[in-house]
Symmetry: C2
């Protein structure tokens, strides 16, 4: 798996539509250019700098094209996230629950703490300003958590966990400390955090905290 694409996919860090879409028609190419411009402006200067006019200028398209297709900045951000979601991303498959959760958390850590502001953090900040962006972010994350459910079903299939397991609760427990530390507490990059948060969530899962009791044969 292309690591950079995966980090992008998980988090909308880059958020440009998948490459194959660039080969579409003129309308598809305009969408790519406009969404790339919106992402770049958001990352560089934040939500306050994000006007339809500024995006159109950056993308080199007429402003009426942007107004007609997206209407406002909130819908531009929503489309940016929808494009990022539509990328065929699959969660990491490392062979163990804790390994999968760690790899997932590494992607989240990269998206939130890549040595400065990222498109993910800019989009989250925008979510506090624009209800449309907030709703698109919720959809994006719910889709990601739904795709990650396979991580949990693989753990059940391997006998690491006993069904039923609340996959979403397990995944939120694994990833939430990263968002909390890096986005709200602003403790800065912590290379050990992805593995520690994954280990805690896996331990809770093995202890049956998410509905599936640990099988006796597993530690």
């Amino acid at each position: 798996m292309d690591e950079d694409a995966a980090a992008t996919a998980l988090s909308g860090r880059d958020g440009t539509p998948a490459k194959q879409r660039r080969t579409g028609g003129r309308s598809a190419r305009v969408r790519v250019r406009v969404l790339e411009a919106a992402g770049a402006l958001l990352l560089e200067a934040g939500y306050d700098a994000l006007t339809v006019d500024a995006v159109a200028e950056r993308a080199g398209v007429h402003r009426t094209t942007v107004y007609r297709r997206w209407g406002d900045v909130g819908r531009l951000l929503a489309d940016l996230l929808d494009a990022a979601a539509d990328d065929g991303w699959d969660p990491p498959d490392t062979g163990s629950l804790e390994g999968d959760l760690t790899a997932l958390n590494e992607e989240v850590h990269t998206a939130l703490a890549a040595g400065g502001p990222t498109l993910t953090t800019a989009l989250i900040a925008a979510g506090f300003r624009s209800p449309a962006a907030a709703a698109a972010l919720s959809r994006f994350w719910e889709d990601r958590y739904a795709r990650c459910a396979v991580t949990v079903s693989r753990a059940v299939a391997r006998g690491e966990l006993a069904a039923p397991v609340d996959a979403r609760a397990l995944l939120v427990t694994a990833t939430a400390p990263l968002y909390h530390e890096l986005l709200l507490l602003r403790t800065g990059p912590d290379p050990g955090l992805p593995a520690r948060a994954a280990a805690a969530a896996a331990a809770a899962a093995r202890a049956g905290a998410f509905g599936g009791a640990a099988r006796a044969a597993h530690p």
Copy 2:
């Protein structure tokens, strides 16, 4: 313990300085009025409506008083959080680790999901606009997590956990899912979430995920 005061204390939901400060001198009374006005404006209309002039008018004090003492909106918010922190709050003491974490999470849930926007969510949103507010929020939370360490040392003293335990990691694991669900994923109030997140963190702690292995006598 006064539940409302505790919820306030944990989260800055209300954020007005402690009552005894109202009996201070004229300067202290002005501070209370100005900070109450800032909190009310932030809650009602958000960060964009928060100007020094608007706060002064709401508080009924001269604008130069506010400019001289606080200088700008960021420092007003920082002082609001510092005042909220300085309230003698102690974490709940229910007699068990899981009970304590659940009670703590109930307070967080109330602060984040009290049937609409709260001062806590308004302050967090402001943190994405003002570096001073963000830094004050970090200080506020670090102080709260430090006070909550007693929750973990009581669990060790009762024999629920074996020392050493990384108290901060345990507390972040317990509380982070609430911030993630209610603030970022926006899944809405979930009365069962405080107990579920507390149970998962306690299970991980008993399994030794935060450095202390579970003692054999405990489940």
